[in-house]
């Protein structure tokens, strides 16, 4: 079965700073999804990557899938309090989606 490891597990960042979250898979990724979860709420879809080398951006969040398709990174530029939450990556094993353990992001003033 496919396993996803996220790093770091938790992150405390000062507002305005940049940060990166990594997601490493034990197998080739054929589709990688990033989700965000506000504390105590449901998950919100951020973006999906399929092709090696693909990069997508939404507002100040950029996600990349490396060429070998076993790792993805999520980069946030100029972090804001609204970015706080738990970020999860999910590997597509159609029809199932396997998730990593998550990265808890805290933004401090």
């Amino acid at each position: 079965s496919q396993e996803l490891e996220q790093s770091p597990q938790s992150l405390i960042v000062q507002e305005g700073k940049n940060l990166t979250i990594n997601c490493t898979s034990s197998k080739t990724l054929y589709g990688l999804y990033w989700y965000k979860q506000k504390y105590g709420e449901g998950l919100i879809f951020l973006m999906m990557l399929q092709k090696g080398g693909e990069e997508k951006s939404h507002e100040k969040i950029t996600a990349k899938l490396d060429e070998k398709k076993q790792q993805s990174s999520l980069h946030i530029t100029a972090s804001q309090p609204s970015h706080a939450g738990i970020y999860l990556c999910g590997a597509d094993g159609r029809p199932k989606l396997t998730f990593g353990t998550g990265t808890r992001l805290t933004i401090i003033p």
Partner: protein, 115 residues
């Protein structure tokens, strides 16, 4: 917002009692999923369904059963709840037609406490 609702949203029960969680969708999506979320474990798949009366196990299916008699409803049952099943349960739906990007849409979660 995707039309997906879970009920109940909160439930407290005692060990050994049966519990059923309901997931209802209005999107007519073929695929439906039940996950549980626990600290340090992220989201783990319990069961999923790929059509009416078609279901399959996920990675943590022991102690759980599911049923899907209609496209719009996917039920998760704990036949005899245990304290280890205290968790937050999320239902998700997915459209895998060519027009979809394939993302899961999640419900708001059901928080279950087994005393």
């Amino acid at each position: 917002d995707a039309g997906i609702t879970q009920s109940p949203r909160h439930k407290v029960t005692e060990t050994g009692t049966p519990v059923t969680l309901r997931c209802h969708q209005t999107e007519n999506h073929r695929y439906m999923y039940w996950y549980r979320q626990d600290p340090g474990h992220g989201l783990r798949l319990i069961h999923y369904s790929y059509g009416v009366k078609d279901t399959d196990k996920g990675e943590v299916s022991d102690g759980y059963s599911v049923s899907r008699s209609k496209t719009e409803d996917f039920l998760l049952t704990l036949e005899s709840a245990t304290s280890s099943q205290t968790s937050v349960y999320f239902c998700a739906i997915r459209g895998l037609a060519a027009a979809n990007t394939g993302e899961l849409f999640f419900g708001e979660g059901s928080r279950l406490t087994v005393l």
